[in-house]
């Protein structure tokens, strides 16, 4: 397959991981042997391989089922947040590039201000203000990553705006909306996808940090980060309840990173050989 050749070994490994987790995110809950909140064992922090494949958690619930349920939250939340950041970053970035200077300046300064507020503390304030909900988590993480996306998108858009094909369109008498939509945007999609992919990884990690601080998905549901957090007590005894979700987080992020790396590596290779 051409795709695998482009990706290389590590890229293929990454892609398989990503597809695996996507599958889990889609069908995990249907595959889970137990409902997510059901207590299945009298003992807590059971080891791997007993009646419950991956042992039990701190309340005696089935870890495998909880991971199968939790993956969906992690993947969907992080993906939605990364895409939100990408969408906001790109739209504002293009807007800044085609707008008069003062719009660009004030937007950029505002983003500077936003980026300097630590993400976790921003999340803390927002959750304290509005209470935790899935939508809010997406918005928080999305907004927290918007300035970063904006910076990249803006610099891309400003460069593209100077390109001859945009100048031609401008000299043709096209309006700003056409320039942004038809000329600039299509050329940003590819590099921004890479950026959004990276932000997906960060979003997974930020979400799990938020779960550590006790903000996050509502019980009895839990995303992978919350699973790690709520079972931290079992860490000292090496309970799978804490290790398995942590491994799951690592595999999700490593998979996405590998795919991005190999895609990016290829782009720069072709650029380098010209």
């Amino acid at each position: 397959m051409n795709l695998f050749r482009t990706l290389g070994y590590s890229g293929t490994l990454g892609l398989s991981l990503v597809l695996f987790w996507l599958f889990i995110a889609l069908f995990g809950p249907a595959l889970a042997p137990h409902p997510v909140g059901e207590i299945v064992a009298w003992d807590v922090f059971e080891p791997i391989g007993g009646a419950n494949l991956l042992g039990t958690d701190y309340l005696g619930r089935d870890v495998l089922s909880r991971i199968l349920h939790g993956t969906r939250f992690t993947v969907v939340l992080a993906a939605a947040a990364a895409m939100l950041a990408g969408f906001m970053g790109v739209s504002l970035g293009i807007l800044a590039a085609v707008s008069p200077r003062w719009v660009d300046e004030s937007m950029s300064r505002f983003m500077d201000a936003l980026i300097s507020i630590p993400g976790k503390i921003f999340a803390l304030v927002m959750i304290a203000a509005f209470g935790s909900s899935l939508l809010l988590l997406i918005v928080i993480v999305g907004v927290a990553y918007t300035p970063g996306c904006y910076r990249i998108a803006r610099s891309l858009a400003v460069n593209l705006n100077q390109m001859d094909f945009v100048q031609v369109a401008r000299a043709r008498g096209e309006g700003r909306i056409y320039l942004a939509w038809a000329e600039i945007l299509p050329n940003m999609i590819h590099p921004m996808m890479t950026d959004v992919g990276l932000r997906f990884v960060w979003a997974v990690l930020l979400l799990s940090s938020l779960s550590f601080l006790g903000l996050g998905v509502q019980p009895p549901d839990a995303d992978l980060g919350s699973l790690v957090r709520e079972n931290m007590g079992g860490l000292a005894e090496g309970a799978p309840a804490v290790l398995m979700p942590a491994v799951a987080i690592a595999l999700v992020t490593i998979g996405v990173n590998l795919v991005i790396d190999s895609l990016r590596g290829n782009v720069s290779n072709t650029a380098g050989s010209v």
Binding site: D112, M126, L235
Partner: protein
């Protein structure tokens, strides 16, 4: 030199503006928070009468923007006000915490930056080799593990199991070097995990970027060895982007270390800010936000200056 001075002056102007913006943003964000300092202080035992009395004595009966303007005016004369939670001057609270944060950040930076840059440069130098792939994968894994897990595992192994170091990162004033190392070892290693991967990967990219430039080919065709090509030719031109990457990572060291502060019980400025959110302590919250913002801007400015000094085109 004139150029750099001008740049710094212009940046300082913009920075002041952004600081103002941050305080406004933080103020509007925090005005969304339900409850106020009085309710937090009284907690479960809040009765309407007690609340009203406390609000009046804290000045919370005045409208929000009045309090904001008062705080802002105070800041202009160098007084960020008094904490609503415990009546202590905000300046005093910050002066207690900030040096600690700076010490932790400083040590973490001293350890992480040289190692990260070495790894990144090595990785770029032998791009595509086995070393590169191993380093790449290692840094990838370091990014992929949540920091609280790293911290806790470190504590379990090195403090609880082996007893080599302290599980609390607290060194009393006048601590011996041994106490100092024992206290800072684990938080620094944790932060190292968080920071090193990002910096290493970005410096690798920056150096690789330069390695595709024609002048590098020229150096190769002059018979220069690989280390010479990378260190003498590519690196000086990669300083700008590397400095930028380092600055972004460093800015994380002040505000982003909440979790490290929680796990190691380190009384730094990030947990001070978290407290101020929990206590709805607006003067403190805003002052902390300003500190983070100022630190961020300062780091970015330093990175800019590095880029300028390293680039003769901009220098003259």
């Amino acid at each position: 030199m004139m150029h750099i001075m001008q740049l710094i002056a212009r940046r300082a102007g913009t920075a002041l503006f952004i600081l103002l913006l941050v305080s406004a943003v933080v103020f509007s964000l925090s005005s969304l928070l339900p409850g106020d300092a009085a309710q937090q202080l009284l907690g479960q035992s809040a009765t309407p009468e007690a609340l009203a009395a406390l609000r009046e004595s804290l000045g919370l009966d005045k409208p929000g923007y009045v309090r904001y303007v008062t705080w802002l005016k105070g800041l202009l004369i160098g007084d960020p006000g008094v904490s609503l939670a415990n009546n202590m001057p905000v300046a005093e609270l910050v002066a207690e915490r900030l040096p600690r944060s700076l010490v932790l950040a400083g040590i973490a930076a001293l350890v992480s930056v040289p190692i990260a840059l070495t790894l990144g440069i090595l990785s770029a130098m032998y791009g595509g080799s086995r070393l590169d792939r191993v380093l790449n994968f290692t840094t990838l894994c370091m990014v992929a593990i949540p920091e609280f897990l790293v911290a806790t595992v470190l504590v379990l192994i090195f403090a609880v199991k082996l007893g080599w170091v302290s599980s609390l990162s607290y060194a009393p004033p006048g601590a011996s070097l041994g106490q100092f190392l024992s206290a800072y070892a684990l938080p620094v290693v944790t932060l190292f995990f968080v920071l090193v991967a990002q910096m290493a990967r970005m410096s690798r990219a920056a150096v690789l970027d330069q390695l595709s430039e024609p002048y590098v080919e020229m150096a190769v065709l002059k018979g220069a060895s690989l280390p010479r090509v990378v260190l003498r030719h590519a690196l000086p031109n990669a300083i700008g982007p590397i400095a930028n990457a380092v600055a972004l990572s460093m800015s994380y060291l002040l505000g982003g270390v909440v979790i490290v502060e929680v796990i190691f019980n380190y009384p730094g400025i990030a947990s001070l800010m978290v407290d101020s959110v929990a206590n709805r302590d607006m003067p403190l919250l805003q002052t902390c936000a300003m500190i983070f913002c100022a630190a961020y801007l300062l780091l970015v400015l330093i990175a800019d200056v590095c880029a300028i000094v390293s680039n003769p085109k901009l220098r003259t």
